[in-house]
């Protein structure tokens, strides 16, 4: 049996081996002949398609045209037809610099009116360290998260490989159906064209029409130039051509810090202003003074060139919506007429267009260029009275007599020394009250005329000399040398003309500063001839501030005829009023008012809320958010503020409205290149300042249902989407959020005196605590009672010793606690220490909450006054007065105001907050302990109960 079993086993092994071998052999044969299908891990290489004209075959792949280098592409234009992001935009490569260095693409787009707009935000000019390439949005969907989307787009253009070429039907209907199928019909297709320089140096243009994603879901269909077939490609990068222009722009809001500042930039933020906006769209609402008005109309300025574009002598911006910030305009003083015309107007279509002309005193168009001559003869031939400029608006109705109106807009021909300057008519505003126009009865002739074409022209001839014209001195003044980069890097002094100088300057006209300071950089090596005087003046200067160096001075001579600008407004779309919520600025410790000395930030609000200090931590967290510093302390890098995506470019009123950006506005100055300095040689107190700053204005929407907000940044000129969780601070008012909750928090040594008055039912009396230093530099506190006082140890002691000028707390405690011997706690006397403890008790008492207006009005009543405290600080010429009024069982209202030395109120009182009765009684008790020379602990509120 064993033999039989062994034999069976052998047979079984042989059979199994044969079967396995046969199966493997069959598999090998089948796999050899059957190719793997699509999606296999080992695709069989396909035969390349037969090349047609213009196509190429490189690196084993068929290309729709021979490959090229992105650096040779000078222009990419995209016309986007998709619903999500329609529009036309361009990537334009500026010409290479003199050294042949290829510049990066710049972005341009067509606005809704078809006007080409360059995306060249202010940050490019304001931030000397800025690189335009930084504006390119990067692709976050790849694993690199740092490659610009534009690079992906260029890769498609550089290397346009395709998988299939699909012939189109010759039948027009069938062909249209096929194009529709691939979304390549005129209505659906996206168009991309680009210009490049070929190998021979010739400029060529290609057009790519892009359709849908391929049916397989991977790759796209596209057409090249006018070729009559469709390509399919497995490249997904064509999706980049379907994006809107906003997707190519990085969602920057606030600039990242620079390494020199080590992340401290945001902490030193200055001039932070936050407004809460309210949009007024109602047809019955009328424009309010100081509001931001969004109008529809045109802005017209006269030209002084003979140009075909302005045959009537006017240049028009074109009808569009634009914003007029009446508050900002009112500051200049030149827009009063326009403001008058707008304020009080109803929202909506104007019954009669508002036409307001503003004259510009310093317009360069009316400057007389004497050249080598000492006199020039000007002949003005007035052919038309265009308008009489009344106080509120221009009167343009024909036939309106000029009469006693002084300002008249005229059309004229100009002859200088007998030569007609231009065939294009000139326009100007003349002020008939000017004595110069009395000559030859010119003013009278004009006054006798009416609006409209003159039947007979009126001439005015004047021989301008430098003596009889209005001469104005214009100075170019450098106020600060910010930085100097020489051959060996950063230096302190401009040694030679190899330096690159960053500086800040302003114009001074007739001795007055005109406009804001401007930051500029000058490469002295490449300076233009016209600026050689500036260069000469700069040599030898050092980095510094408050310089006031006039590097150039000119005198301008102006005609009697004034330049002007006319606003024609046909519709007031809406207006926005704003309420200032918070305003603060970083302030160095040496510059702080000791009363607010604990806060890094100074309250810039005006009016009664200026009395409240700021919650420094709140301000700090806000500037950290804006500066991109992590609130959770994870990162101290000022990474700048960025949104999650850019949704629009250009802050036009339409976009502002679309993204609800009128709700909040913030402006602030982010310091750059911080430096530290000391007030004296002891170097005990570091102070900080910066060489320059970036001034941002942010427009922010309300929070959306998905928890996001839109934020627009003026320096980046974009609207971005952000996670709203860090921006809840926008929803609070000043009192409930920004105001300091500590009643007082200041350096004890800055207090000159403290006066308290009890007026409770079981406690009355007034006491004045005068703080001074003794010979050893230690504080001594003299207490003098005043008014009717309850009996206590202090009063007893004064009475027993017949003191007239009060007693020191040191003496009082020595007597009652020390039994006549000195008493000390640590290194100070017991009396002074416990007075300081009482003060600290006040310092550590925070306002509990805000009290309603009704409760405040009820509480502030003489009969409810429990306690009054007057604080005199060493550095202020006024006192801070705190009055405490009983509101109810748990609440004591605190009223605060400034008081002059004669007891007069110097400020409006603030009374928004209350403290708890618990906290109030603790303050009062601590003073009663002091007045009774008793020891106490601040942390134990009810010591007698223990």
């Amino acid at each position: 049996m064993k033999y039989v079993a062994k034999k069976n086993t052998k047979i079984r092994i042989l059979i199994i081996s044969s079967v396995v071998f046969s199966v493997l052999l069959a598999l090998a044969i089948v796999l050899h002949f059957v190719p793997f299908g699509e999606g296999s891990e080992n695709p069989v290489e396909k035969e390349p398609p037969t090349l047609m004209d213009g196509e190429a075959y490189e690196k084993g792949q068929a290309l729709a045209y021979p490959s090229l280098s992105a650096s040779n592409i000078t222009l990419i234009s995209i016309k986007n037809n998709n619903e999500k992001s329609p529009g036309t935009f361009h990537f334009i490569r500026p010409e290479s610099d003199e050294e042949g260095k290829i510049k990066n693409f710049e972005i341009a787009y067509e606005d809704k009116n078809g006007n080409l707009k360059y995306y060249y935000p202010e940050i490019c000019e304001e931030d000397y360290s800025f690189n335009y390439e930084n504006l390119y949005a990067v692709e976050m969907g790849d694993s690199f998260k740092r490659i610009p989307k534009l690079t992906y787009l260029c890769s498609v253009l550089e290397y346009p490989y395709f998988d299939e070429r699909i012939e189109l039907s010759s039948d027009p209907l069938e062909r249209e159906r096929e194009l529709n199928m691939f979304s390549l019909s005129k209505e659906k297709a996206q168009y991309l064209s680009f210009v490049y320089t070929d190998k021979d140096g010739n400029e060529k243009t290609r057009k790519i029409t892009i359709g849908d994603a391929s049916l397989s879901g991977k790759g796209y269909y596209f057409m090249i130039d006018d070729r009559d077939y469709v390509y399919s490609t497995s490249s997904d990068y064509y999706s980049f051509a379907l994006l809107g222009v906003a997707s190519y722009v990085r969602p920057y809001i606030v600039a990242a810090g620079i390494s020199d500042d080590n992340g401290f930039g945001p902490y030193l933020t200055k001039n932070y202003y936050q407004w809460l906006g309210q949009m007024h769209k109602g047809k019955e609402e009328t424009v309010e003074a100081g509001s931001r008005v969004i109008v529809y109309g045109d802005i017209i300025t006269p030209t002084f060139n003979d140009t075909k574009n302005a045959p009537d002598g006017y240049i028009r911006d074109g009808l569009s919506s634009f914003e007029l910030d009446l508050s900002a305009l009112s500051e200049s003083g030149s827009y009063d007429r326009l403001i008058k015309a707008l304020v009080g107007q109803k929202v909506g279509e104007c019954e009669e267009s508002i036409v307001a002309t503003l004259t510009s005193l310093y317009a360069s168009s009316k400057v007389i260029d004497f050249g080598e001559k000492t006199s020039l003869s000007y002949k003005y031939v007035i052919t038309e009275i265009e308008a009489v400029i009344a106080d509120e608006r221009d009167v343009t109705e024909a036939g309106t007599p000029v009469g006693e109106n002084n300002l008249v807009k005229v059309k004229y021909e100009l002859y200088i020394d007998g030569v007609l300057i231009s065939k294009t008519p000139y326009h100007a505003v003349i002020d008939l009250s000017d004595n110069a126009f009395l000559k030859d009865g010119f003013a009278d002739k004009i006054r006798a005329s009416s609006v409209g074409k003159l039947s007979e022209s009126i001439e005015f001839t004047v021989d301008y000399t430098k003596e009889n014209t209005t001469g104005r001195t214009v100075k170019y003044v450098i106020e600060e040398i910010i930085s100097i980069y020489g051959q060996n890097g950063k230096t302190q002094k401009i040694i030679d003309d190899t330096s690159i100088v960053s500086y800040r300057y302003y114009f001074e006209i007739d001795g007055k500063k005109s406009g804001e300071s401007i930051t500029a950089s000058l490469d002295l090596k490449n300076i233009e001839q016209k600026d050689s005087d500036v260069k000469a003046r700069l040599l030898g200067l050092e980095v510094g501030r408050n310089l006031k160096i006039a590097v150039r001075e000119n005198t301008g001579y102006y005609e009697y005829f004034n330049d002007f600008v006319t606003y024609e407004i046909s519709k007031i779309e809406y207006f926005v009023t704003e309420e200032l919520v918070s305003a603060f600025s970083f302030v160095n410790s040496a510059d702080r008012d000791p009363y607010y000395g604990e806060s890094l930030y100074e309250n810039l609000l005006e009016g009664k809320y200026s009395l409240y200090g700021l919650a420094s931590g709140v301000c700090e967290s806000v500037v950290k958010i804006l500066g991109g510093i992590s609130l959770d302390g994870q990162s101290s890098d000022a990474a700048g503020l960025s949104g999650t995506e850019t949704v629009a470019i250009g802050l036009t009123p339409e976009i502002m409205n679309e993204y609800d950006l009128y709700h909040h506005r913030i402006t602030f100055e982010l310091p750059r290149q911080i430096y530290e300095y000391y007030l004296d040689e002891t170097k005990e107190s570091e102070q900080y300042d910066s060489y320059f700053s970036l001034k941002f204005t942010l427009y922010i929407s309300d929070e959306k249902p998905d928890g996001t907000r839109y934020i627009a940044s003026d320096l980046y000129d974009v609207v971005t989407k952000v996670d709203g969780k860090n921006f809840v601070f926008l929803d609070y008012d000043f009192v409930s959020f920004w105001a300091r909750r500590y009643m007082i928090l200041m350096d004890y040594t800055e207090i000159d005196s403290l006066s308290i008055e009890f007026s409770m039912k079981d406690l009355v009396g007034g006491y004045n605590f005068d703080l001074d230093d003794n010979d050893e530099g230690k504080s001594i506190v003299m207490v003098t009672p005043f008014g009717e006082c309850d009996d206590n140890r202090l009063n007893q002691y004064i009475k027993e010793n017949n003191y007239k000028n009060g007693v020191s707390l040191t003496e009082l405690y020595n007597h009652y606690v020390g039994g006549g011997k000195p008493t000390y706690i640590d290194d100070d006397t017991m009396g002074t220490t416990y007075f300081r403890e009482a003060l600290l008790g006040i310092f550590y008492t925070q306002y509990q909450d805000v009290m309603s207006k009704e409760d405040r009005e009820t509480a502030i009543n003489e009969s409810n006054l429990l306690f009054k405290m007057t604080l005199d600080t060493k550095s202020a010429a006024y006192d801070y007065v705190y009055e405490f009024y009983r509101a109810d069982d748990r609440r004591v209202l605190v009223r605060l105001y400034k008081q002059g030395i004669n007891g007069e109120m110097l400020s409006e009182a603030v009374d928004d907050f209350y403290i708890s009765t618990f906290g109030f009684k603790k303050i009062v008790r601590s003073f009663t302990y002091v007045l009774n020379a008793e020891e106490f602990e601040r942390d134990i509120p009810y010591p007698n109960e223990r």
């Binding site: 550590y844 109810d888 069982d889 609440r891 009684k921 009663t928 601040r938 942390d939 009810y942 109960e945």
Partner: protein, 576 residues
């Protein structure tokens, strides 16, 4: 005798002697072991006498021997110190060893102090009476001090503190800690829980236990009694202050506001009813449990709560995705979410539940939401104070989907307020005062919920919910009524400050006096010449005196004696 049979007589004698010696050693070993265990006899072989009990400690605990330290029946009150491991483990562990020996010493001085060692790993039920909740864990390194129905459980680590001035050094703070624990459990003979009654509250009336109101509160009453508290009622407006024996004040569903005298509130000396609560919470370790109906507005009482961290809304809370129907089928119950913050106070109370994959649920019936009234923080300094904070702690919360509804024009809670969010169903306010001298923290607590029936029988008695355990845990944790030992026992000193004090490092403890290493003894006073350091009293090097004696005996005398005896025997035999 078979052992000696056939041997020489001398051999037989030596054999017998050997047997006797062996038996004697065994018997002596047994007797000694038993005696030492029973009498807790041990030899302190450290040079500094670490295991001795200082006079200051004996003095601090002298109240244990007072004649009036008796219970209601006149019997001497007995303090039990329970160690949760076997003695050999306790002795082997440096953290427990010192505590154990100290307790044994104290027991020698005061016979009514009993020390026991129970292995809780082998015999967990031995300490089940000390479990606040069914899932409370007691560690083998825990020490339980108990008297009557009150107890404190402290880990042995808490008997040591790290020095601020000497980072890394451990200081034995055991005498202060043990005295404090004993005082805490003995300070009140009968701690009480008071139901406040004068604002329309729902309370347990001992005099009328069959009333509908008492029946509603009977489960809470039983729970309070079970936690060692006797239950009373209190008319707050009729007393000058909350009674000293109040370990827990319960304000359950007040329907009328707290009163004050408008003619007297301008007096510094006037104390209103809510100020009585302030005093209760700030003068010692007060504890208040509050259930307030969100539908009832009580401005004064809510003003008090606002200051302590609670902001009540008058809206009804719904958490529709996280509700169950009550057993009566009449109402929806919100299932509370447990905090997962393992460092948080709430987790300390019910962490065992939060950790369970199928945790028993805690439910809330008709409820509003509680939120923190402190602005941008969960913690604020108490007015005027530097080392006192009031801290808001969410205790039980809703899911992220809860919604608040205000009353609509028809008086129904249908008007949605705000978005879906996590909201607090119950919260705690903890007042914490730190004493820089003793490193001690003093706490008072307010537990608050906006569910008026949270403490009522219908919910507490339903064993399918965790409510009973959770409330039990809360009561156990907040109704502390600690007293503290004199600060002379505290501070960074070893054993006692009154005798110069001793500072010891972890290294020194391990060295334990038997190794030749530097051994510094410091005063608890600072060195006048170098105020940043403690005054160094002396430095020891080498072995301790006792160790030297032992080493001399074991290493030198015994071998020498054996050598000499051996030599003598050898010489005698050789020259016999």
């Amino acid at each position: 005798m078979s052992l000696v049979k056939g041997k020489s007589k001398r051999t037989a004698v030596f054999t017998v002697i050997s047997v006797i010696i062996i038996l004697t050693v065994l018997v002596l070993n047994f007797i000694l072991d038993t005696t030492l265990r029973a009498g807790a006899y041990y030899a302190d072989m450290t040079p500094e006498g670490f295991y001795t009990l200082t006079d200051a400690m004996i003095e601090e605990c002298s109240f244990l021997a007072d004649d009036d330290f008796v219970d209601e029946a006149g019997n001497k009150r007995e303090v039990k110190i329970t160690f949760c491991n076997d003695p050999d483990y306790l002795i082997a562990n440096i953290e427990t060893r010192y505590v154990y020996f100290m307790a044994l010493d104290l027991a020698k001085v005061y016979p009514n102090v009993k020390v026991e060692a129970v292995n809780v790993t082998m015999n967990p039920t031995a300490v089940s009476e000390y479990k606040a909740t069914s899932l409370t864990k007691i560690s083998p390194s825990d020490v339980i001090v108990s008297e009557g129905g009150r107890y404190r459980i402290v880990n042995a680590q808490r008997f040591w503190i790290e020095g601020n001035a000497y980072e890394g050094d451990l200081f034995f703070n055991g005498e202060y800690r043990l005295a404090t624990l004993i005082k805490s459990v003995t300070v009140m003979d009968k701690p009480k829980a008071y139901f406040v009654t004068d604002h329309g509250e729902t309370y347990y009336d001992k005099n009328n236990p069959e009333s509908e109101m008492s029946i509603k509160m009977s489960e809470l009453y039983d729970l309070l009694v079970g936690r060692g508290l006797s239950v009373e009622t209190l008319e707050l407006s009729e007393v000058e202050r909350v009674p000293d024996d109040c370990a827990l004040l319960i304000i359950n569903n007040p329907t009328k506001d707290f009163s004050f005298d408008p003619d007297r509130i301008d007096e510094l000396s006037y104390v209103s009813d809510t100020e009585k609560l302030d005093i209760y919470l700030t003068m010692k370790q007060g504890a208040i449990m509050i259930a307030k109906d969100y539908e009832v507005t009580l401005p004064v009482f809510e003003g008090f709560l606002f200051e302590w961290g609670f902001d009540f809304s008058d809206s009804k809370l719904k958490d529709e995705e996280n509700e169950i129907i009550s057993s009566s089928g009449k109402e929806n119950l919100i299932i509370a979410e447990y905090s997962k913050d393992t460092d948080g106070y709430a987790y300390a109370i019910y962490g065992e539940y939060a950790d369970l994959s199928t945790a028993p649920v805690t439910v809330f019936g008709d409820t509003g939401a509680v939120s923190c009234s402190f602005r941008d923080s969960k913690s604020v300094n108490e007015p005027g104070a530097e080392n006192v904070t009031r801290n808001y702690v969410p205790f039980l919360t809703t899911s992220v989907h809860s919604k608040l509804y205000k009353k609509d024009e028809y008086g129904e809670y249908n008007s949605l307020m705000g978005d879906e969010a996590v909201r607090d169903l119950a919260a705690l306010s903890i007042r914490n005062r730190s004493d820089n001298t003793t490193n001690e923290s003093y706490q008072s607590y307010i537990f608050c919920t906006a569910s008026k029936d949270f403490f009522e029988r219908d919910i507490l008695a339903n064993l399918s919910y965790a409510n009973y355990d959770i409330v039990s845990g809360v009561i156990n944790n907040i109704s502390r009524f600690d007293d503290y030992a004199d600060t002379v026992l505290g501070g960074n000193t070893f054993n006692s400050a009154s005798y110069g004090g001793k500072r010891v490092t972890a290294t020194h403890i391990l060295a334990d006096g038997l190794l030749d290493s530097d051994y510094k003894i410091y005063s608890n006073q600072y060195d006048p010449e170098n105020p940043k350091n403690l005054l160094l009293l002396k430095t020891l090097t080498g072995l301790s005196t006792v160790a030297k004696v032992i080493f001399t005996v074991i290493i030198a005398i015994v071998p020498t004696a054996v050598l000499i005896i051996g030599a003598v025997v050898h010489v005698k035999r050789r020259y016999r």
